[in-house]
């Protein structure tokens, strides 16, 4: 059996491919094939008389029409803000769970982070709407205690979208950070203090460098999830908060312009990858360390 599992032997090679086949099939049939199809569609240009020709018009449209690239820039910037906020909140939360709690309370806190994900994202977002709308819980409460004298609409602005996105993304930041903190030996922190460090220098010089791979992988996941999110920005942002995924949706579904939608889809993929590559370069991290 051991012999058969060894990829160096001919029998082992067969075993390896048999085990690998389901993942390979899934990858090809559900991810690569549709993307290749969309990639091909994105270069098609409808012309007079039902004829189609090939060209880059669908892509150049993104750069010519300000609405499109501005929406993308907006989406990217708000996703970056979301990522930073999630990291700032996630770091102390993860530190607390990993280092300052033990046993039962640790499990409880971890489950508390997980719990919101037992509910669908749509329902979670609708929950925020109940809280924040003009006739909602927050507005009502503030009126009741006399802070405001008329109802206020908290929905449909950028801040609300970011709040919703941070909430949705928190788990994906906290989990890699907890792993990072747990592998950090307490004696390293103590040595930092012993040699004259204070809470700031120990955090900056010892803790952050240690959790950096976890932090960066958390940031990548949160950024990608926020950029590609649809329900939260649409429901919480409404008409005032255009999100790039809404543009893609509009092309595919409302305008039935699959060619344009496919081009936007690939632009989103390429541009977000470029932003992540830039982020990795700026923080001096390598992707192989981050995904390890």
């Amino acid at each position: 059996m051991i012999q058969a599992m060894n990829p160096a032997t001919p029998g082992g090679k067969l075993t390896f491919w048999l085990l690998f086949a389901p993942a390979m099939l899934w990858l090809i049939a559900l991810i690569i094939a549709p993307h290749l199809q969309l990639f091909a569609i994105s270069f098609r240009e409808p012309s007079a008389g039902g004829q189609t020709s090939l060209g880059l018009n669908n892509y150049s449209e993104f750069f010519i029409e300000p609405l499109y690239w501005r929406t993308f820039a907006r989406t990217a910037i708000m996703s970056i803000v979301t990522t930073i906020l999630t990291a700032v909140i996630g770091l102390p939360v993860a530190y607390y769970i990993a280092k300052l709690t033990r046993g039962y309370s640790k499990s409880i806190l971890f489950v508390a982070c997980l719990l919101p994900f037992w509910v669908s994202e749509l329902v979670r977002t609708l929950g925020w709407m109940i809280l924040l709308r003009e006739t909602g819980v927050l507005s009502g409460f503030l009126q009741a205690i006399g802070v405001i004298d008329h109802p206020i609409e908290f929905l449909y602005n950028d801040a609300t979208v970011i709040v919703g996105l941070v909430y949705t993304s928190m788990l994906f930041m906290v989990v890699p950070l907890i792993n990072g903190f747990e592998s950090l030996e307490d004696s390293l922190i103590e040595a930092g203090y012993d040699l004259g460090g204070n809470i700031f220098s120990v955090t900056r010089d010892i803790i952050i460098p240690h959790v950096m791979p976890g932090l960066v992988s958390g940031c990548i996941v949160v950024f990608m999830l926020s950029l590609g999110n649809y329900a939260t920005p649409t429901l919480l942002g409404g008409k005032n908060s255009l999100w790039f995924t809404e543009q893609i949706y509009a092309q595919f579904i409302t305008r039935f312009n699959w060619e344009q939608g496919a081009a936007f889809g690939f632009l989103l993929l390429v541009l977000s990858s470029a932003i992540i590559w830039l982020g990795l370069r700026l923080t001096g991290q390598r992707l192989v360390d981050v995904v390890r």
Binding site: L188, E190, A191, Y193, D194, L195, G196, G197, I206, P209
Partner: protein, 367 residues
């Protein structure tokens, strides 16, 4: 010698009713190598962490040069610590590790560079500066961990079993090296360990700790030859121990008898107090003379005939396990002149040892 550098006064700490450190007091003269020796769980780590400032004591005081340091957090105490697993910062180079404490103190860049290099020279690793921590061997890491503390010129250096993770050969080597380094630099070292050989080889003075209390504080020689408690007698060095009934005492000598009827003569207690009832008798393996002819042991106070049950050959440390009576089994160091090299299991030999090399302690419940 200068004024006592470290004064620990009646220090106590308990966790949820369990006393980890129980009214411990000792003084470490400045510039000396002081070890705290004890089995795991005896409270020595708690004691060390109180000295470093990571744990605050329930009562008692820690004074350095007469000044209490209890109010100071660890980063402001003139005490540095070499951690059990060294705790070198993996994301920094060797030079950055050594420079860490100086940078925290705001020392100028040029001076840091110069002092770090001087320290690296001193620990015989002058070229290690730009290396990463994982490029160092175990012994080199050890030296860097010590250099990282010593560069700050602390009044006191604490070492928490730093040799525990090393293999035997390197550990033997580091023992000598640490002792030489301490003698050369002159910083006060407080070293905790469960390894009695480390404590005996390196220290000027050793405190033996058991169940949160200090059993005895003294030079390694005092602890070895004049243990004051049965715990020290059994923990420091190898000893043969057997239970006896006290028969009587006269002329600074106690006569005892084992259950199987072997009569043993032991030195009376130093403080003159009489021993009665049941007692534990301790004899060092090297204090026992082993021979094939009875005449050689005739002059010794204690003598017996014994059967060899096992031979443990270990070069110069070879020993034999002998059965004297059913309840007395003796480990005896074999003489190094080769006289007993042909000793066989099952052979009958004669053993003898002096009464003043034999210690007895009245049996107490805790011992």
């Amino acid at each position: 010698m200068a004024a006592p550098d470290l004064n620990v006064v009646d220090l106590s700490k308990s966790y949820e009713g369990i006393t980890a450190v129980d009214r411990v007091s000792f003084t470490v003269p400045s510039g000396s190598f002081f070890s705290i020796l004890g089995p795991s769980g005896c409270g020595k780590t708690t004691l060390l962490r109180m000295l470093a400032g990571f744990i605050s004591p329930d009562s008692g005081d820690i004074r350095i040069g007469g000044q209490s340091v209890l109010g100071l957090p660890p980063n402001r105490r003139p005490i540095n610590m070499v951690f059990q697993h060294l705790a070198l910062f993996p994301n920094m180079t060797v030079a950055e590790n050594v420079a860490y404490g100086l940078r925290r103190r705001g020392v100028s860049k040029a001076e840091i560079e110069q002092r770090v290099q001087k320290m690296l020279n001193r620990v015989s690793l002058p070229d290690a500066g730009p290396k990463r921590i994982d490029q160092l061997s175990g012994g080199q890491k050890q030296r860097i961990a010590i250099a990282r503390c010593l560069v700050l010129e602390p009044a006191l250096l604490l070492l928490d079993e730093p040799l525990g993770a090393l293999d035997l050969k390197l550990r033997e080597h580091m023992k000598v090296e640490l002792k030489l380094l301490q003698a050369e630099i002159g910083t006060t070292f407080v070293y905790i360990t469960h390894d009695q050989s480390e404590a005996l080889v390196m220290s000027d003075r050793v405190a033996v700790m058991n169940k949160g209390r200090l059993e005895q504080v003294g030079t390694p020689q005092e602890l070895y030859y004049n243990p004051e408690t049965p715990f020290v007698a059994s923990f420091v060095g190898v000893s043969n121990r057997f239970a006896c009934q006290v028969l009587g005492q006269n002329n600074g000598e106690v006569a005892l008898k084992t259950r199987e009827g072997l009569t043993v003569y032991a030195a009376a207690q130093k403080n003159g107090s009489a021993v009665s009832g049941t007692a534990s008798v301790f004899v060092r393996p090297e204090a026992v003379l082993i021979t094939r002819d009875r005449a050689s042991v005739a002059a010794l106070r204690n003598q017996a005939e014994a059967k060899v049950t096992n031979i443990l050959f270990d070069g110069a440390n070879s020993s034999a396990i002998l059965e004297v009576t059913a309840d007395v089994s003796l480990t005896v160091a074999l003489p190094q002149d080769g006289r007993m090299s042909l000793l066989k299991v099952g052979e009958t030999v004669h053993v003898g040892w002096r009464s003043d090399a034999t210690l007895c302690f009245a049996e107490t419940i805790s011992a």
